[in-house]
Amino acid sequence: MTQLPSSHSQDQKADALRYALLLDWGTRIGLISLVISFAAYMFGLLVPHVPLDQLPMVWNQPAKTFLQQTGTPTGWGWVRLAHKGDLSNLIGIALLAGCSIPPLLGLIPLYLKRRDFLYAGICGLITIVLVLAASGLLTGGH
């Protein structure tokens, strides 16, 4: 195999360390939020939208039927009910689903500094895809 220039390896290491740092923190914040909200849900500190003892009667139904029977909204409609014990957990889930965005944005200045416009553009495009998916505009969530 070919001998690689050391600067390439050092650049890759720097990119990986920055991405890892931001991803690690995003994952931790999402996980902590998830654990706290789930504990509040389980111990009854927050009143759930669907009572715990009634869940077994609806969690075996298709999602569409579950939403109709429980009056749970689709898209970002859950934010209005985020004070409810069960739906408060979606904050942590949304944080986990979105925690790749800060590391991608964090890489762009590194690539631009090295005039690596191609990879800066790729990071920007992935970010746009994730934001569009989260918005529900592409997925019919609204």
Partner: protein
Amino acid sequence: MFAPPRPPLDVQVPLWAWRRLGLLLLLIFALPAFAADSVVPASTMPWWFWPLALFATCFLIGIVAVPAGIGGGTLFVPIIGGFFPFHLDFVRGAGLMVALASALAAGPMLLRGGLSSLRLALPLALLASISSIGGALLGLALPASVIQTALGLIVLGIVTLMLVSKKSEFPVVSQPDRLSSALGIHGVFVDGASGRSIDWQVHRTPVGLLLFLAIGVMAGMFGIGAGWANVPALNLLMGAPLKVSAGTSGLVLSLVDSSAAWVYLNRGAVLPMVAVPSVVGMMVGARIGARLLHVLKGSVIRKMVIALLLFAGIRALLKGLGLWV
């Protein structure tokens, strides 16, 4: 003696064989229609038993999934869908979150250890993220039993591919293709098992990009992540070392599953009571699994991948056909 006339070259397959093949295909595509696809029988256990059981099961799945180089969702969906009382919609929604959480938990450690390459992952993840949104929309529109049947066939096909291929721990890539050279996709990693420093590069990048476009569709459609397809594509097709393939697969998964997960979340198919104990159990287990990846030999990881994929594939196929519901 009478010699029977030889059949013409273009009619070598007898009619009865075609009939049997037709019957088999009919059964494969018709049986899912009779598979249990709507309401799952209610459980007699108290409600609190199920989140505890989910946590314990996902902790164990998380330990084995990361060294195997597959998303935890690949194992999660058949196991939880088969033995827990939740509807498949919520199992698939939680499965994507589990696959995502597994990849996120292991990602930073794999990046710091040099086992995951951003330059390899980002172009592939861009295409796969876009297509996973389309796949998720398609998957939520199709009957679950049809998806399960197709999934089982695909996974068993990958198992066959991995069994046939012999050289994959350190594939020989004599010449990188022009696209991978232009993108600067190459690197160095230190194999923890042997202590060797290994330079790697890839080839067949254009085909790899197209394949990841298809992988994204499948990841979103089946709601199980895509590690089972990522590792063979990176390792067998593009020629990345097995450990780099497994590590980079996790990074691609974290981006592809994020896109697909948003679709499930927006459609109300993520139930916190199913998703949260699963995600937390998987993340704790995955951190232990990521440590094993740095220490275990590549051949051990390969055997684990094949065994886990075989089980997941058979389970999905039988469930889709309604033979093991």
